[in-house]
């Protein structure tokens, strides 16, 4: 956690934003490893017994387990030092929940984003398909690709994340890869986020994993500026 959150509701009023404000605040309060009194931090200090975990925490733990199985162990919320860190799944899960909240409030056109992961619906304020620029891992002020998600979720993992490491759960070390950025497009941002995290931890095999995964596309950039993308990725390049 600890990231900018952007919510845009086309045709909405300021008060429409408040439930989203409240929701992301609550998610941060529960899951942030940077907040001493978050449920996640208290769990790491063994201050809460497993049978006293909140429903949301249990849900995240279950989803993390399922993701670990689906990624041959490459997705793991337990860091090498034993710390429980669900950040790799909470972000996409929270944005997805916020998107469901938006739909339940009758909003058909919106953009919900946290930390560079995005879920859109409908069209932007000009009635055009939402467009997402992929940030260059080499120059933060550059875009290297324009994607039109058409309702799909987008998540980007990368080694240029400030202050964070993605670990290879099998070596306990930061993943050894020449990949500096991996963007995954999936059916929703929850799916995109969890598989982006796992695929990045797989190193060079990650892009193959996504290619083989039905319904997902990816764009990987290596440190030499060569990009590799899955065969269906080009479907997202047109408005």
């Amino acid at each position: 956690m600890g990231m900018p959150v952007t919510v845009e509701i086309v045709g909405g009023a300021q008060h429409d934003l408040e439930p989203f404000f409240a929701y992301f605040t609550a998610v941060d309060a529960r899951f942030s490893p940077y907040k001493q009194e978050s449920e996640a931090s208290r769990i790491n200090r063994k201050e809460i017994a497993p049978d006293a975990y909140s429903a949301d925490m249990n849900e995240i733990i279950d989803l993390a387990e399922e993701t670990k199985r689906a990624t041959q162990g490459y997705f793991d919320v337990t860091r090498p030092d034993g710390t429980f860190d669900p950040s790799g799944i909470v972000k996409g899960w929270a944005i997805n929940n916020a998107a469901l909240l938006a739909i339940s409030h009758g909003h058909a056109n919106f953009w919900i984003e946290a930390g560079g992961d995005i879920q859109t619906a409908g069209t932007n304020e000009h009635g055009s398909p939402w467009s997402v620029g992929l940030q260059s891992p080499f120059h933060a002020h550059d875009i290297v690709k324009v994607i039109y998600p058409h309702g799909s979720g987008i998540a980007t993992s990368g080694t240029y994340i400030r202050g964070r490491h993605i670990y290879d759960p099998f070596t306990g070390q930061p993943v050894d890869t020449s990949c500096v950025s991996l963007t995954v497009i999936g059916p929703d941002v929850y799916e995109a986020d969890r598989f982006a995290t796992a695929a990045f931890a797989m190193g060079p095999d990650g892009i193959h994993f996504i290619e083989a995964l039905p319904g997902f596309e990816a764009y990987a950039i290596d440190r030499d500026g060569v990009a590799t993308h899955t065969s269906g990725f080009t479907n997202y390049l047109t408005p």
Binding site: M1, G2, M3, P4, V5, T6, V7, E8, I9, V10, G11, G12, Q14, L17, E18, F21, F24, T25, D28, A29, S32, Y34, W111, E113, G116, I118, N124, E125, W130, S131, V132, G133, Q135, S136, P137, H139, A140, H141, D142, I143, V144, K145, V146, A155, T156, S157, G158, T159, I161, S181, H208, E211, I221, V226, A227, T228, H229, T230, S231, L237
Partner: protein, 170 residues
């Protein structure tokens, strides 16, 4: 741009931040970037508006202060009412310019006056393609985009423009 009320196509932009990093907590001490240029006043078109709520006493979440070292000081109740247009700031995908409306001394809304404009598209090079996978050289694009996906997302330009608008209201 004519002021138009009929078409309710306003967009509301809500910027929220989880101030989880230590340096985010220095919200009230940091100084905004000072502005030296006079902004061009623009009439409220109403067709593209965004709003942020002003921060409360909480130090865990700030809406106006997006996650960055360059925080925007807000002084609740001490802004002069009115609408102030910030500097046009070069962002990585174009120019960003915001206008802040102050009501009752606090930020009532922030709206985008300028947003990036589209120009280019990409070129593809098929190099040694792995089976089914396609390789290409990464190329910088000039593009009109609604936002950015990246592992390090920044709203720096937004903050700079907003900061310059708030400086006028102080």
């Amino acid at each position: 741009m004519a002021f138009c009320m009929k078409k309710i196509t306003s967009s509301i932009l809500f910027i929220g931040a989880f101030a989880a990093y230590v340096f985010y907590s220095n919200l009230m001490q940091s100084q905004a970037a000072t502005t030296t240029n006079t902004s061009n006043p623009q009439s409220n078109s109403g067709s593209n508006s965004s709003s942020t709520a002003s921060t409360s006493a909480s130090n865990t979440l700030s809406i106006v202060h997006a996650a960055s070292k360059n925080t925007i000081p807000t002084k609740s109740g001490t802004y002069t009412d009115g609408t102030y247009t910030g500097n046009a700031v070069d962002a990585y995908y174009g120019t960003v310019q915001v206008a802040a409306t102050i009501q009752n001394g606090a930020i009532a809304s922030v709206r985008f006056v300028q947003y990036p404009h589209d120009q280019g598209n990409s070129a593809q090079i098929n190099a040694h393609a792995m089976p089914q996978l396609i390789q290409e050289a990464v190329q910088t694009q000039s593009a009109n985009v609604d936002g950015i996906s990246g592992a390090t997302h920044t709203t720096e330009a937004f903050k700079q423009s907003l900061s310059s608008a708030l400086s006028q209201a102080s």
